[in-house]
């Protein structure tokens, strides 16, 4: 409570917390390794696939929380950013493997190996893995760039504009990708085509197929925990307080010296980055990505997670992502009524707890964990 808020606009001070404490990074790495080497063999392929989907949905839900939860804007563009990031990363790894290795199968280390190791001792990391990581980051950056372009004009305005603009953006992305040229598969042809031209060959209506397999539990959980760390630290930083102030009262925030447009755009760009990374990760697991599947329906899936978890609650989004990924699979025994029951569960949930599972608080700020919250001065902690 007595902490003096640092100046809101000093970049270096805001970024100083990155190297300050490596513990979260260690935790991310530890959990990712644990999921890969212990959980996967123990729980089996199906549970592992669900765990993988959960992690991807956590990244998506938390990234959307940064916009819809922290700054109180309403974005419906998650699927669009996923598509942008996924296609960008897929183009890099697919055409990149042809360029670098002359084949569509880049070398992968044990961290990118699927399921039970097939006996061959693999090195930890191979150059293909580095290409994959670079591709994911590239996908994220492209999505962030798209987020900047979309966000800058629409976030100057107040109200529902962002929802409409992002909805339109998602549709534009979908149509553009679906009408792209067919994927090239001839090594010589690929070698002779310049990169900008290659990026127009994204598979068209069939989707981008034959993407190399890289995404394992290790990579998704690493990305998921890093997303959580970034989101949590952002919420607790001076940046975060600026975001939250916009949500609570935009006029008051402006009066306090917060440049609302700038901060809304920042939140939106960071959110787009993580959505793009999630798209890249899922593309390298399914080994194909289809813009047709990434329509606004997919954005709604993520919005539901955020709303159900509580707008602004990171842990709520995490929990909702987990529950909403597992629930449809649990309900499979109901066959045709599965989606009806699923929808009913959501409706009941919203009637019982309209503010979401945790409202704007985190899981440790409610119930038995409450005692810790007393002195923390969690911003917005009391406003439900």
């Amino acid at each position: 409570m007595t902490r003096v808020a640092p100046q809101l606009d000093d970049g270096p001070a805001a970024w100083r917390f990155v190297p300050r404490n490596l513990a979260p990074l260690g935790a991310a790495l530890g959990l990712a390794l644990l999921m890969h080497f212990v959980f996967q063999p123990a729980a089996g392929s199906f549970a592992s696939k669900l765990a993988l989907d959960i992690a991807v949905n956590i990244i998506l839900a938390v990234s959307l929380t940064m916009v819809n939860g922290f700054t109180g804007q309403f974005s419906m563009g998650t699927a669009g950013f996923m598509a942008v990031g996924g296609y960008a990363a897929a183009a890099v790894t697919y055409y990149g493997s042809f360029r670098l290795y002359g084949s569509p199968n880049p070398p992968a280390g044990i961290l990118s190996a699927f399921g039970d190791p097939t006996g061959l001792p693999l090195p930890w990391l191979q150059s293909g893995d580095l290409m994959f990581v670079a591709a994911c980051l590239f996908g994220g950056l492209v999505a962030a760039g798209a987020g900047y372009i979309v966000g800058l004009p629409s976030l100057r305005l107040r109200g529902d504009y962002l929802a409409i603009v992002t909805l339109g953006f998602g549709e534009i992305v979908r149509v553009v990708l679906q009408t792209s040229e067919r994927r090239l598969s001839n090594a010589e042809q690929i070698a002779g085509t310049p990169w900008p031209k290659l990026l127009t060959h994204l598979g068209g209506s069939l989707g981008f197929t034959s993407i190399p397999y890289f995404t394992t539990l290790f990579w998704v959980w690493l990305a998921a925990v890093l997303t959580l760390v970034v989101a949590y630290r952002m919420k607790r930083s001076s940046y975060g307080r600026a975001f939250l102030s916009i949500r609570e009262d935009e006029v008051a925030a402006e009066a306090m010296g917060v440049c609302t447009t700038k901060f809304k755009v920042r939140a939106f760009v960071i959110s787009s980055f993580f959505a793009g990374v999630a798209g890249a990760l899922i593309a390298h697991q399914v080994q194909s990505i289809n813009a047709g599947e990434l329509g606004f329906q997919r954005s709604f899936d993520v919005i539901i997670m955020v709303v159900l978890g509580g707008m602004g609650s990171i842990s709520g989004a995490v929990l909702a992502a987990g529950v909403l990924t597992v629930l449809p699979e649990l309900l499979r025994f109901m066959a045709d009524y599965r989606m009806v029951v699923y929808a009913l569960a959501l409706i009941v949930m919203m009637i019982v707890r309209p503010q979401g599972l945790f409202g704007v608080r985190e899981v440790w700020e409610v119930g038995p964990f409450r005692r810790r919250a007393a002195g923390s001065g969690a911003p917005g902690g009391g406003a439900t």
Binding site: V38, A42, S45, R182, V229, R236, L319, G322, D336, R372
Partner: protein, 441 residues
């Protein structure tokens, strides 16, 4: 900072707890646990799922130092009890879009497959065992497809897979099936890429371009035409593929393609192209497009005084064709996988059995292809020395002259089907069976 870390860790602990409880719960509520007799043995291929539960405590210990409560919860996750096939059962998996915008595709295919299962069981099953099909819904999404295919293979332990209709989802499913070494047959995905995914992936439908050959042969040998024009959609690989194949085959058979005109999907005015075709004196126009454009092209052609028949591929297949084209489309021909008005014995039997089971519903191509895919699989199972993936795939690959509803099916070296196609004619708004064209030798 210390407090922050504590929170992060406790959050992780809670998360892992939730995940464990959630995942552990999957087993008992599995959709196919209905006949959990015994629950032991199951498939020979229990590679991952049976799993070493000894490792579970370690997992819980590391993951959540601050919360001992997570430790016991990890145990159920280690045993995602699959519903194993009963000893006298063979399980096959079908993944299909049972809901979503393409729900009809999956539902109809599933009906065809289930009819095939009923028939094979009524005839005594395979190797003395009954066949049971497990259908899981892909919701028309690729990401869900990989999840359900993984589930079918590792939890339900199916010996073979059938699916999907959409090529994009068949490709996604094929990647998983190939990784696990489980044979898969797609009933009606015509994209060439599907079967390139590996040596366990097959199809029982013909590839799109084959229809170009079919219509060329039909035009040259049945209709005895020598001058034909083509009008195709230059943006659609489906259309260009058929066009190229038609041109090649028709020329080889001694005919001449007098005009080759192109349009782009979404065009509404085709009069320029049709005028050219009229002036060159074509005796028929090959239009390998989809039904909406074909309907419009037919109307505009008749307005321009072009009365020759149109020829086309299975993109024409839709009740909308007659709605849009009306009288203008009457007398035109198109090729398809199958026709319910075919007079072959297999077809007549299939149609009557399907109708008696589904209240008079006439089975469409998708139902017939689903039926054939299942029947080809059962035929291979009977011939295969075991139901292991490698043996079964070899047996499917050896399929030769199998009498299916959609024609004689042989599997070639690329794991695609070499088979016949039917030619239909539009008469008074209805597609009637004309003839069957055999594949080139």
């Amino acid at each position: 900072m210390r407090m922050t870390n504590t929170r992060i860790f406790s959050a992780l602990a809670l998360l892992s707890l939730a995940a464990c409880v959630g995942l552990g719960g999957c087993g008992p509520t599995d959709s196919n646990s209905g006949n959990a007799s015994g629950g032991g043995g199951g498939g020979a291929r229990s590679a991952a799922a049976g799993g070493s539960s000894a490792q579970a405590p370690e997992s819980a210990g590391k993951g959540s130092e601050k919360s001992p409560a997570a430790a016991p919860a990890a145990a159920p996750a280690a045993a995602p009890a699959a519903a194993p096939a009963a000893a006298d059962e063979i399980l096959i998996g079908h993944y299909a879009s049972m809901t979503g915008s393409e729900a009809t595709f999956g539902q109809v295919t599933d009906k065809g497959i289930r009819l095939a299962v009923e028939k094979v069981n009524a005839a005594g099953g395979i190797k003395g065992k009954k066949v049971r099909v497990v259908t899981l819904d892909t919701e028309g999404k690729e990401s869900v497809t990989t999840t359900v295919v993984t589930r079918l293979i590792t939890s339900d332990k199916v010996v073979a897979l059938l699916g999907e209709v959409a090529s994009s989802r068949s490709i996604a499913g094929a990647n998983v099936a190939q990784r696990f070494g489980i044979p898969m047959i797609t009933p009606s995905s015509t994209n060439p890429e599907v079967t390139t995914k590996g040596d366990k992936i097959f199809r029982v439908c013909f590839l799109d371009p084959f229809q170009g050959y079919v219509m060329a042969k039909f035009a040259r040998e049945n209709l005895k035409l020598s001058k034909v024009a083509t009008l195709y959609d230059q943006k659609q690989p489906y259309s260009t593929g058929l066009n190229d194949n038609f041109k090649e085959a028709f020329t080889k058979l001694g005919g001449t393609v007098v005009a080759e005109q192109a349009f782009s999907g979404g065009d509404a005015d085709f009069s320029a192209q049709l005028a050219t075709i009229r002036d060159r004196g074509a005796e028929a126009i090959f239009v390998p497009g989809y039904y909406t454009e074909v309907g419009n092209i037919a109307i505009q052609a008749r307005k321009l005084g072009v009365t020759v028949p149109l020829l086309g591929g299975d993109g024409w297949e839709s009740p909308k064709l007659a709605e849009i084209g009306g009288k203008a489309i009457d007398g035109s021909y198109y090729s398809n996988h199958y026709s319910p008005s075919d007079t072959r014995e297999e077809v007549v039997k299939f149609v009557s059995e399907f109708q008696s089971k589904h209240g008079g519903e006439v089975p469409d191509s998708l139902a017939a292809m689903g039926y054939d895919a299942a029947m080809v699989l059962f035929d291979a199972m009977k011939r295969s020395p075991s139901l292991g993936g490698a043996d079964l795939a070899k047996a499917i690959a050896a399929t030769k002259d199998f009498k299916g509803v959609s024609g004689m099916i042989s599997i070639d070296a690329e794991r695609n089907a070499r088979k016949s196609a039917v030619v239909l004619q539009m008469r008074k708004g209805k597609a009637e069976y004309v003839t069957t064209i055999a594949p080139q030798q």
